[in-house]
Symmetry: C2
Subunit: 198 residues, 2 copies
DNA sequence: CACGAAACTTGCGCGCGCGCAAGTTTGCGT
DNA sequence: ACGCAAACTTGCGCGCGCGCAAGTTTCGTG
């Protein structure tokens, strides 16, 4: 049951992040103040900061939505019938499949602007808590669960880092699709996940 | 050979962080503005932000010094004759042994104040780059090295988190010395490090 | 030694993040 | 239906973070 309170709250959250993305695409990220976003969403600037703790956060939230919580749900879903490592890797890779379409130019915007890129790379940190919980249900020790969850989140961040970098240096370009990149970066952690599960 | 330039730079860096810590201990962290720190160190407030990117950073730097780079050095030192996992764990645990004495009250200050605590927990992120480099010399794939370095840094952060929390909840208290806690948190990653080395 | 490039410092100004206290809205029990 | 408590919004003010451009110091080179 969702009360009026929660519905309104979610509405302004959505309004804020969509306004943020639209304005950033129209005028460029540098030319958008939080006052503009707040005004476009019909709330006070102060309220903006009750929802998002930085100017960039709303913009990346528009493209990220609530991916982190969906990942946790996806892991829980496959857990009963799968090994821990496979469940985690598949679930994460799935949630990072290209939604393509409208978010293409948004992602270009993010990878271009340094501030947005940083906010984008910080997003997977939100994986830690839900992942810890779901890992803890599988293995005994909650402390081990915490470490593994943090490591998985870190690996995802590294994957996004690589994917974001246009290379440009003199070394090998990673390229490939994001889901495959995520899988490759999570691979080194498989032995640790297996060992914890045994 | 160290030029005058670098010596001066290091001098003001030290002056800033020591002033920051002293003032924070004297008046409480909330009652210290960066203007105060800058003035006490004899530089302009603007210069402060050329050295530290937040008000808290200087304070934790006073107690952390350059622990991260020393860790990297310590790992390199034992690498030839030891397995990767052991080298990393021993080196990190060593660098987190209690320097006791004067930094006792400083650490209490940090764990008390939420802002300082956050800055303190962010510190091990600086491990990633040097660790990646040293791991990459041991194993082939630089991407795997990156992931493992990030995971180790994450595990260290988790250890500091636990150590910082006064528990207070209803669950098991971790307690024990910090080096032992660090070892325990790094243990789950050993299989991953072993597998990468093989 | 002289001098030009490079590194570093500093004042200025703008926008952000957030604590606080007052006002407004929603929810819930009676 | 009423009213109170809890949740949420908002204006205000302070300090911070940082880009920019001008001034100052250090470094290498002829």
């Amino acid at each position: 049951m969702t009360g009026l309170r929660e519905r309104k709250k979610e509405a302004t959250r959505v309004a804020l992040r969509e306004a943020a993305l639209r304005l950033a695409l129209e005028h460029g990220p540098a030319n958008v103040r939080v006052d503009d976003i707040a005004e476009a969403a019909g709330v006070s600037p102060r309220t903006y900061n009750n929802y998002f703790s930085s100017r960039e956060e709303a913009i990346v939230a528009a493209v990220t939505a609530d991916r982190e919580s969906r990942i946790a749900a996806a892991v829980t879903e496959r857990l009963p019938e799968t090994r821990l490592a496979a469940a985690i890797i598949d679930a994460i890779a799935e949630q990072y499949t290209d939604p393509g379409e409208q978010s293409r130019d948004a992602l270009l915007l993010i990878t271009t602007n340094p501030g947005l890129r940083t906010a984008f790379l910080d997003a997977p940190a939100a994986l830690e808590d839900p992942l810890e919980e779901v890992i803890a249900t599988r293995i005994g020790d909650p402390q081990t669960a915490r470490v593994l969850a943090a490591s998985v989140a870190a690996a995802v961040r590294v994957a996004l880092e690589q994917w974001t970098q246009p290379a440009g240096n003199g070394l090998v370009v990673v390229s490939g699709s994001l889901p495959e990149l995520v899988r490759r970066m999570l691979e080194p952690l498989v032995p640790a996940l297996d060992a914890a599960e045994a």
